[in-house]
Subunit: 430 residues, 2 copies
């Protein structure tokens, strides 16, 4: 088993000013061919999977960024049709969806892709999202209670067609053994679902389950359900602490450490020399629209910073108990560590919204990945290229071979399904 | 303008016994390549579109039929990736979905396909569907009230990004003119939705709107919203009556007759000679599992017929006011016209669940289509091949050329989008 590498696809790049850089074509955020190219590049690099984040409202100020792209499940289905190996991970919320629809769509994507579907489970903390569904913003605990029941229902639906239920006996006219296709009769606090699912058991049985919450509730949820976790970590120490914490929670759920893979995000700014890499970083930084960054920072902190001097210090803010507390802590640590001004914090966050940014040559970046991978900080990485497609191409053509030479990454695809690639068995009905 | 032809794709065929016939491969109901082949065949025939029906429960007895296939939107996104011209029409329910999700997914499919998305709007009358969403089966009128508000919200969301809103001005850092991307602030009986949509205006502005309800509420809804209507009609007279009725309702909504196209379903059983066609019909009929047909008939009538003698008459049943009344009337007319036994009714319905079945040579089938098209019964047809892919191949290779020779069908694709192909302008925000 080598490290896992996931390509986090985001419009024309993760840097918030990527759309202004001449290396990108901002009209591509709604161009299928752009995403087909990205998936193909990732597959050429033998990456585990591609991943699409999601929110259920127009988040961020579209005046200054190339927002408003595809819905993840439809896009990944279209990417499945032009790829053969790469995993396809879509973000879908448990707060504003029905488990029957979600279980069915992932089963459909899994059939379409021949066993390559993954689900990044989110609980949608935003107020703007709630207002698109006639709802008040739900409290943190309530969101996780609903998510818990949602997963129970979804897994029961995936198991409602047992392996071997389909017989296809043309002679006798028996297509399926209906004693192995059963209602789930779920009755709970949030859902009543009869079942069975109206789609046959898919190649993986269920999608790879991915999660990214870093609150206490989020970590417990991950320890129980998740098979891969995306996380934002700025330093080796913090990443090791998170890694040990989360792996340590698994035994309480009867799970082994290898059953959950931890993938910190990394935005690699790659240059042939360190100077070239620094130049690219600076070019992107100079294209930042401060008003946009301030809006993003305000949203992440849950506090409106409009009007504060950009060259003054970040004010001390209290984390909203229903918001993204771990992200607030990360930003405060970041600002405090080096005594950054608001403008400097904005620049630090512009590359990856709080994720780890590594600037350097392919060897330097491989060194950093190796250090984290070999020192209990990561089972792999969520790769967030600053601009696309070039940033992904550089990673695949320059960093991946370096990792392969060091024996840290696969040279060929072996396993048939995404779950198998993550070292998990096919889910079998209990 | 020539007739419109839509390929209604259904597993390995519309005949309920198709999966038992040696011309099909029943495992293909969950095989993407099978559907890619079907879409490619339809595109080779210059058909307007392919269409997927849908239900939100496992409907029909899977013991005796190849059920449990793909979810429509994910499948059509995957088909978009391997086709260039053909329209892609997905069925989605307004009763068990949220307008924000639905508007967004169709906009996404429309971007993915370059302007080829269509939405068949259904209101989900079934009790089994309600039970997968913790709901009681809603009354007929309530379903249509919700559908009406749903369409208001969806169209407002599609229009929430006005044409020209995206500027992509890299120099000044202005991506979009936010005065043209606006909240919709909808507050109604069923929905409260703030908006705007989180995806940019799509090539068509909105999908082609399709509908198939034949109740009074259904016809009024169609007259107001639909741009194409699928309908089940057994005779020229009935089809003419339906056509005149529905077209006659348009002026009340300020619409012209050409703005709504009426497409009766037809299941063409094609043979090189009439005898060959009759033989294929008979082969399929002999593969019918009576228990399956009886279950289907019971569901369509809303009455459990189990235990009644197959060779006795169809009992007189009252249409459930919340069920599919028009389908009940069609079946009663069918049985009454020729004094059919239950077994004979089952055989009549097995080919297309109440749709028109035409058995004969390509010329004979073209004659029938021409007669309906030229005599005020149809603007085109919803083609339901009894078995797949062969039945679609035969239609495309044998019936379509006959229609082309007669000047009744296009020889090449002209228009860029599906809406344009249906003679409709691009939807422009008001």
């Amino acid at each position: 088993m080598t490290m896992h590498l996931n390509a986090f696809l985001m419009g024309v790049g993760h840097h918030e000013a990527a759309w202004r850089h001449p290396l990108t074509e901002p009209r591509h955020v709604t161009d299928l061919r752009h995403f087909q190219e990205l998936a193909t590049i990732a597959e050429r690099g033998k990456l585990d999977s591609v991943f699409l984040a999601d929110g259920l409202a127009l988040l961020g100020n579209v005046r200054h960024n190339a927002l408003g792209g595809f819905e993840p499940l439809t896009l990944l289905a279209a990417l499945a049709a032009v790829t053969d190996h790469i995993g396809l991970i879509a973000t879908v919320s448990t707060t504003y969806n029905e488990p029957f629809h979600v279980a069915r769509k992932f089963a459909s994507l899994d059939h379409i892709s021949g066993g390559r579907a993954g689900w990044n489970i989110v609980t949608s903390s935003g107020a703007a999202e709630a207002r698109n569904f006639g709802r008040e913003r739900p409290a943190h605990g309530e969101r996780y209670q609903r998510a818990e029941e949602f997963l129970h229902v979804a897994t029961a639906l995936w198991d409602s067609w047992e392996p071997g239920a389909v017989l296809t006996d043309r002679g006798s006219g028996v297509y399926a053994d209906t004693s192995h296709i059963r209602p789930i009769e779920h009755v709970g606090d949030h859902f009543r679902v009869q079942g069975p699912l109206n789609i046959q058991r898919s190649p993986q049985g269920r999608p790879l389950l991915v999660q990214a919450g870093s609150s206490q509730d989020g970590k417990e949820f991950a320890a129980k359900w998740a098979e891969a976790v995306f996380t934002a970590q700025q330093t080796l120490g913090d990443a090791q602490e998170f890694y040990a914490d989360l792996k340590g929670r698994l035994p309480a759920y009867g799970r082994q450490p290898h059953e959950l893979k931890i993938l910190p995000g990394i935005s690699p700014v790659i240059g042939g020399t360190e100077r070239e890499a620094r130049r690219l970083e600076k070019e992107l930084e100079e294209l930042i629209v401060p008003a946009y960054g301030l809006g993003q920072l305000s949203t992440m902190l849950g506090v409106d910073l409009t009007g504060l001097p950009l060259d003054g210090p970040l004010p001390d803010v209290e984390a909203d108990p229903d918001g993204q507390q771990s992200r607030v802590k990360l930003i405060k640590d970041l600002a405090g560590r080096d005594g950054l001004t608001i403008r400097q914090v904005i620049a630090k966050l512009a590359g990856g919204r709080g994720h780890w940014v590594v600037v350097g040559t392919p060897e330097q970046i491989a060194d950093q990945l190796q250090e984290w991978y070999e020192n209990g900080a990561a089972d792999g990485f969520n790769v967030m290229p600053p601009y696309l497609p070039g940033g992904l191409t550089d990673f695949v053509e320059q960093v991946v071979p370096e990792l392969q030479v060091r024996g840290l990454f696969r040279k060929e695809y072996g396993e048939r399904t995404l779950r198998e690639r993550y070292g998990l068995g096919l889910a079998v009905a209990s």
